[in-house]
């Protein structure tokens, strides 16, 4: 292949972390002035690949050619100098400083005395902002801008570096439709001026309308690159998921028993209204919906993390008052949270403490001391039972792979011997092998007679695992469906979007959360 035809060639990129091989021989070629979409499920390796490109990670294998030259061992700053700029999904502006200081951060123009030349900075800022048609005074504080405008400033910054390649990670996730159009206009303009764009998005419909080419990633590999006119949405999705449902979701036949958890007219001041459902012994109850539908908030409210404004919760037919996670645990509930880092693991603490933390009450002697041996034995039992790969019980959990961290957290809640287990995005950000193991575990728990309530943004997961599916739309329940062959992603999306015909919209939802 001729290097000169491409602005960027990434060849056979490998990258591994302790416990996971994140990238396996990935290839990515981006032409000059090309908008190249990069898609894939969560954990497919898109972000890792981009971090290798901009110098945050250095790959373990493979070669990168940029603008005809081989590049290696560079820092993010050097990548910027070469013309590779990335607009991160989570923006990190300095909120209480003006736009212009954010734009020129780290390379502020100075005058001959060595002081910052504010006049010059202002003038240059005006020029750049004009280029992207952002009508704001450069002296405006970042904090006063909308998220969309902050993003525009980020793009302006990339342009001001004379970037040849701009990587946009989920740029539209926070934008309104109008703002999105504006973004596309800028992208087209960039393209005309010869700048290439790598566009990462879960919104497949917008990829169709903006990209020239698309590369699909799955499980750390690139599954293929296609011209956008030669491929359909369905084909992209098939490439992304890439496996049959049966292998992934080992559903067992379970005899569903009596109702254990009943929720009646539960409301939250802000997030949802009049939610009612019941979950029965041995049942896996899926909750589906788009981002912001209130799914997580519902189960957080049941678990006492958020205060309810109205409604009733019954366990085994008896009303219970749950005002804190402590009350919920006392009522034999467990809760695997959505964001493992933020609300799950204690990253610098050992596997044992991470598992035992809600359970120390059962491991104390009558003098109030913790019986360490009993803790270790109990932890060891779970390590063996659910095959957690860790060199020792005292290993810091941060050194484990995502999948194993998730298993430790599952063990944490299993140790509390819950009757009702809430799972919020139980397989987010873990690799496929670990996913399948988690599914197996969930199925086994249901077979043991526990109630499982599972919130998930991945529809295949909801469809593959649930006995019944509750769909929410903007804080209201739109359907509770018995799962079966006639329940498809389309059916769920119709309820989740609250519309019947807006088919394209539904892809936004399925993949709209990282």
């Amino acid at each position: 292949m001729d290097n000169d035809n491409y602005l960027l060639r990434m060849v056979n990129i490998d990258k591994s972390f302790p416990g996971v091989q994140a990238l396996k021989g990935v290839n990515l070629n981006v032409g000059y002035g090309e908008v190249h979409a990069l898609v894939g499920e969560n954990g497919a390796g898109k972000s890792t690949l981009m971090k290798c490109l901009i110098g945050i990670y250095s790959p373990n294998g493979g070669e990168i050619y940029f603008d005809g030259k081989k590049i290696e061992n560079y820092t993010t700053a050097q990548a910027l100098q070469m013309g590779i700029s990335m607009i991160h999904q989570e923006l990190s502006p300095i909120l209480y400083r003006p736009i212009m200081e954010n734009l020129w951060l780290g390379r502020e123009p100075i005058n001959k005395f060595g002081f910052v030349d504010h006049k010059q900075m202002y003038k240059q800022s005006l020029d750049v902002l004009k280029e992207i048609e952002l009508d704001e005074d450069p002296r405006t504080l970042m904090a006063n801008l909308t998220v969309a405008k902050m993003q525009m400033v980020e793009i302006a910054k990339a342009i001001s570096y004379n970037a040849k390649l701009i990587i946009m990670d989920e740029p539209s996730s926070a934008l309104t439709e109008h703002e999105e159009e504006q973004l596309f206009k800028i992208i087209r303009k960039l393209k005309e001026s010869g700048t290439s764009v790598i566009y990462i998005s879960h919104r497949l419909s917008e990829i169709i309308s903006i990209a020239d080419k698309v590369t699909v990633m799955r499980d750390g590999r690139d599954v293929g690159t296609e011209n956008i006119e030669n491929i359909s949405l369905d084909q992209i999705i098939t490439m992304m998921i890439g496996r049959t449902m049966d292998e992934m979701y080992p559903k067992l036949k379970v005899n569903i028993g009596e109702p254990i958890l009943q929720v009646k007219n539960l409301s939250h001041r802000k997030y949802f209204k009049n939610v009612s459902f019941e979950v029965r012994r041995g049942e896996i109850f899926g909750i589906a919906g788009l981002i912001g539908a209130g799914r997580t908030e519902v189960i957080e409210t049941i678990f006492g993390i958020r205060p309810k404004s109205e409604g009733e919760i019954l366990i085994n037919g008896k009303p219970v008052e749950i005002n804190s996670p402590r009350d919920a645990i006392a009522n034999r509930m467990g809760f695997l949270t959505e964001d493992r880092r933020a609300t799950g693991i204690f990253s610098v603490l050992g596997v044992d403490v991470n598992m035992a933390i809600p359970n120390y009450d059962r491991f104390v002697t009558k003098f109030g001391f913790v019986n360490e041996r009993a803790v270790s034995e109990s932890c060891m039992k779970f390590v063996n039972e659910i095959q957690i790969k860790t060199p020792s019980l005292t290993q810091k959990i941060q050194n484990l792979s995502g999948g194993n961290q998730q298993k430790v957290l599952m063990a944490r809640w299993l140790m509390t011997e819950p009757d009702i287990l809430f799972l919020d995005e139980p397989t987010r950000g873990i690799d496929v092998g670990a996913k399948a193991e988690i599914y197996k575990l969930i199925t086994m728990l249901a077979a043991e007679g526990k109630c499982i309530v599972m919130v998930s943004s991945e529809l295949p997961e909801i469809l593959g695992m649930s006995d019944r599916i509750m769909v929410m739309h903007e804080g209201r329940v739109t359907a509770i469906l018995d799962n079966g062959p006639d329940i498809t992603q389309e059916v769920i999306m119709r309820y989740a979007t609250g519309t019947e015909n807006d088919f394209k919209e539904e892809y936004r939802g399925i993949y709209a959360k990282e």
Partner: protein
């Protein structure tokens, strides 16, 4: 995945500060024979006991990702109150002229109560109003100090009972009382941190406060208790300090919070929370004590001592951060 393999590098990383302490002791012993006397070692232990006890509580506070700037002031306030209740009949300016000599337990309990109360107020503010620990305890610093001056009218309280003197200057089995009390508090705090649910939860609160809440840990109660324990230790430290000098004055122990924080930090407790040990705080306190003692014996001026101390604190943290950074 990382293997727990035996290597000198690992050992050095984990116990590096102990090697530093041993090295300092060996070098000093070679340089100055007067350093390696039993008397001097007991002296070092006694000197380190007051801020050493504070450092024990500070370890809990810092593991929970907090800070307590007020311990010096709380110590001062507890000390003057204890002293006022512990004066002997022969005292010329008695704080309570009409009161007889009280049994030693009364001033001791008073100091512990005052310390705990101040700590509880700190903990309550931090837990229930959500203001940062830095601010809450900064406020307490001047408030407690102010009360100490009001209580004493700015004058020292002296001529305490022999029992009080014994706490500060007496010996059991040849070991000075302050060292004995320090030792007892080390053991209690060690057990508290390592063998109780409370201890496990201290690490959890500092490690990830949100995850702790979701795991059913009563985070507010934990914060309240952690700062209360810190206050209690300040009260104990106040008793020891008062006994040593057989008097107390309201400006007592100004700046001790910094020495306590320094000891804890030198001992490897991380200000980003979730990491720290009691033995680290003890070693840290001893490092500072040996350093001060050694420099004094070597005839280094106290002004220079301060500079060296500051450098040691900074270097200790740099080394510690490098150790953690490499593991990423």
């Amino acid at each position: 995945m990382q293997k727990n393999k035996f290597s000198f590098q690992n050992i050095f990383e984990k116990y590096g500060i102990v090697f530093v302490l041993i090295l300092m002791i060996v070098l000093m012993s070679i340089a100055k024979p007067s350093f390696r006397t039993m008397n001097n070692f007991l002296n070092i232990l006694t000197q380190s006991s007051i801020y050493g006890i504070l450092a024990l509580g500070m370890t809990l506070v810092i593991i929970s990702k907090g800070i307590d700037l007020s311990v010096g002031s709380i110590l001062g306030l507890s000390a003057v109150i204890a002293a006022s209740l512990g004066q002997s009949m022969t005292a010329s300016n008695k704080y309570f002229p009409d009161m007889g000599e009280l049994p030693i337990i009364i001033p001791v309990i008073a100091a512990l109560l005052v310390g705990s109360l101040c700590g509880a107020i700190n903990g309550g503010l931090i837990a229930f109003t959500g203001i940062p620990a830095f601010i809450a305890t900064l406020g307490m610093t001047t408030i407690a100090r102010g009360f100490a001056y009001i209580y004493t009218d700015g004058k020292p309280i002296s001529t305490l009972t022999p029992a009080f003197k014994f706490i500060g200057q007496g010996k059991i089995l040849g070991i000075p009382m302050p060292a004995v009390i320090y030792l007892i508090m080390i053991i209690i705090t060690w057990v508290l941190l390592n063998n109780t649910r409370f201890g496990k939860r201290v690490y959890a609160v500092g490690g990830n406060i949100n995850a702790a809440e979701v795991s059913g840990v009563n985070v507010k109660k934990m914060l309240f208790l952690i700062y209360t324990y810190m206050g209690l230790l300040a009260g104990i430290s106040a008793v020891v300090s008062t006994g040593r000098m057989v008097s107390a004055q309201p400006g007592l122990a100004a700046g001790y919070e910094l020495t306590a924080i320094a000891s804890t930090t030198i001992g490897g407790t991380s200000h980003s929370g979730g990491i720290g040990t009691v033995w680290g705080a003890v070693v840290g306190a001893l490092v500072l004590a040996v350093m001060r003692n050694g420099m004094t014996i070597l005839g280094i001026h106290s002004y220079w001592q301060q500079i060296v101390e500051g450098l040691v604190i900074i270097i200790a943290v740099i080394l510690d951060m490098r150790k953690n950074a490499r593991k990423k």
